[in-house]
Symmetry: C3
Subunit: 333 residues, 3 copies
């Protein structure tokens, strides 16, 4: 594709020679002469002088004069309003999706005869299992060795990666993506203590409901409710190795980074941003719009939006002040 | 089922109209007119005034007069000694177990010809693998895509969920439940440093022994011993994503919440309660009856029962006092 | 095997009766009369007086006189320079490897017709899947139910345990070992916020490259790069449940203990030793030779080798001093 076509594709202003051939996109540090790269974050401007890329997508405000090219080559630019969004478009354009599974049901997949599989462009891979009365929507992809137990439902256009397990009765929304190793609907951790110190299992009879447009990373565990539902609302995005206990509810468009754990019956609001390795105890409520920095532990409800952090969560400003006081104190001694 | 029959089933005293039909159980916040709910925890008494449930199971001490019903309906009660235990009985009654796998060995399962499978009511699902000389006890259920390697042994009535992996030679007791994604017997993390900075793998030749009545959540890892055994004793209950390193031993009836990790050769006593996200270093001993609150890190042996907490574990009272001193200090400045 | 043969095998000096028969190796606490044990760590010397082992491998400096045998039996010794290395040799000798998979491709494995499988001693187990254009090297073992998606490459002598998932295009080096439940190449956690608060998935078009001689424990997640590569360099050893985000790079011979997480684009140096449950934020750099103790959280780049620890990483000496000051402070009040 000619550079001038690239510029047109992303609606940018071409400055320089539009006739060069672009074969791919690349990172500014490593891109070659037939690759286009971009600068969205000013931190990366320092690489401008030395990049070997064929062209650079930059913000309209980007000041070329500031950076002298080391090889004195005049590098073509494409100026756009938002270089990052432009980059996303090019990413899709130059990296077509690998087709991981052909349309149809692989002959080695085992599908219970009472399961309802949409006839519309479904892809079910080798060695998958679909249990009794499970329902699989239109254009769903289930990759090799995934297991969907009895009565589970998968919405249209969902994508289930290999070795995922979805327990009986759980409901997965439309366009949901679930990465490998993730388990949806394992039993909540309910154990009632007997007088002799042993424990009796509390049956976990509820389900998990994952709403539309949720993405769940690899090796997550989302437990089924004791009764009722564990709920992951619309547009929630979960990173890898996240533990969601029974009867938890997570509000719309909340994003959670890796290795975070949320204990039973806790309710998280909408539009929260939760860092990695955060721990949240059970039976509390976090309101909408809360930001928890990485490794924060929350043991009480939070009712005001804002940023919280610390081994025992506090408003971030307060916690950083406390940290500074402690550090000063130990310097004095 | 008539409400009077429900009362009889749980040995409770019916107060009100026993002729109404009960179809299910429900949470007090959401139960409908054909559902029975319960109040075990006083925190939920506040919902009594507004619940739409057909009836409520309460403690014999429950004081109805204290809560005025919003709709002035006189709601039938069933009075029992322990509402929670009564609820567990109803949970079983109204939510019959889904049969996830029929009796027999699915035709797509691969069973080594030297494996010993009990002929008594075993269920082995599609695409399972049972290796050479493995032994499977009576009434064991192995769900789809679980893998049991050579020489492993599974005790009577055990339940192995989909996509579980049990490595060679590991021994699983009777009535053990293992949830999806869990790995039993992966190699312990043993690496000997060579003079040139590279590492040489220390062969891990031991096994994992899981005693009777243990339940293990999803996505846990329990490593095999270097030599000898990693031991999970009788009645231990593990939540999800728990890491148990090589040669660890966990005492009877100890319960551990999600995302906790225990490093190599550490010994945990009986009847301990270990919160979520706890970290315990290797080569130490925790005595019987220790409680570790969530996110506690333990780096030294604990020889007295009691509650411990903190980024560096201390007796909880001491740790909370320390926390208070720090918070005051930073307020003054 | 006679004890004198054992001594010869490990090049040690026999002190005592070499005619006894040795059938196995054992731990000093539990070894029986036909087993040889060892003392490498002085902590275990206390067991010398009471061990029932047939013989003990000890350091040449070991002072027998110091420990009186309880049963007055004169226990044969084998004196060597490094008892631990000698033990490793015996471990291999007495515990031959279990053959987990026969040479050849199991008839239930599904191999895409365009995949390139070496004809040299490859072992591919039941219910495995190998996708289009994937490449499998010489003497590779892929155990039951592992999934290798399109275009992935596995180097010679690699060992892939059951239920591992390797996503499309990822490259695995020679002699790499990957334990069960681990996921290589799941999508990096890239979500761009839309003006309405919803998130748009940033396509993850890069791959993961695992260099030669890497070992990865069970239930780890290593995400693919957005563009370019997530890189695990030669000789890196990862324990279980480790989260490696997109575009991370880990230097040669670095070892990382369980439940540690490293956020996106962070670069870790060579020869680092990272404890369990460590958290490292994204977009920072840790230089060569850094040691992070267990449960440390790192939020800034580290440019000097040394030991760091704490809820917010500091040089360890400084952090321990701070801890001591705090503990004193709360005792006074």
């Amino acid at each position: 594709m000619k550079l001038s076509d690239v510029a047109e594709l992303i609606g940018g202003e071409l400055v320089g020679d539009g006739s060069i051939e672009i074969a791919n996109i690349g990172k500014i540090e490593t891109a070659g002469p037939d690759e286009v790269t971009f600068i969205a974050n000013p931190v990366y401007e320092k690489f401008f002088s030395g990049t070997s890329a064929g062209a650079v997508v930059v913000s309209r405000k980007f000041n070329t004069g500031k950076y002298k090219r080391l090889d004195e080559r005049i590098i073509p630019l494409i100026k756009v309003d938002d270089p990052y969004l432009a980059f996303l478009e090019l990413l899709e354009k130059f990296s077509p999706k690998t087709e991981l599974q052909k349309i149809g049901i692989h002959e080695t997949a085992v599908i219970d005869e009472t399961a309802e599989i949409s006839i519309k462009d479904v892809r079910i891979g080798p060695h998958c299992f679909i249990g009794a009365k499970a329902k699989i929507g239109k254009r769903v992809t289930v990759l090799p060795n995934a297991v969907i137990l009895a009565g589970a439902e998968i919405g249209d256009d969902a994508l289930i990666y290999p070795n995922v397990t979805i327990y009986n009765g759980c409901k997965i929304g439309k366009r949901v993506i679930i990465h490998s190793g993730t388990v949806i609907g394992s039993d909540g951790f309910g154990q009632a203590k007997n007088p002799d110190g042993t424990f009796q299992k509390i049956p976990q009879k509820g389900i998990v409901v994952i709403a539309d447009d949720v993405e769940i990373g690899s090796n997550c565990s989302i437990d089924r409710a004791t009764i009722g539902e564990t709920v992951i609302n619309k547009g929630v995005k979960l990173d890898n190795m996240i533990q969601i206990a029974h009867n938890v509810e997570i509000g719309e468009n909340t994003v959670i980074a890796a290795q975070t754990g949320i204990a039973g019956s806790t309710k998280i609001g909408k539009n929260c941003m939760i860092g990695g390795k955060v721990g949240i105890v059970g039976h509390i409520e976090i309101c909408d719009g809360v930001i928890l920095t990485a490794a924060t532990n929350v043991s009480k409800s939070i009712s005001k939006p804002g940023v919280y952090s610390g081994y025992r969560a506090q408003p971030q400003m307060q916690e950083l002040k406390q940290e500074a006081v402690i550090r000063n104190l130990s310097k004095k001694k």
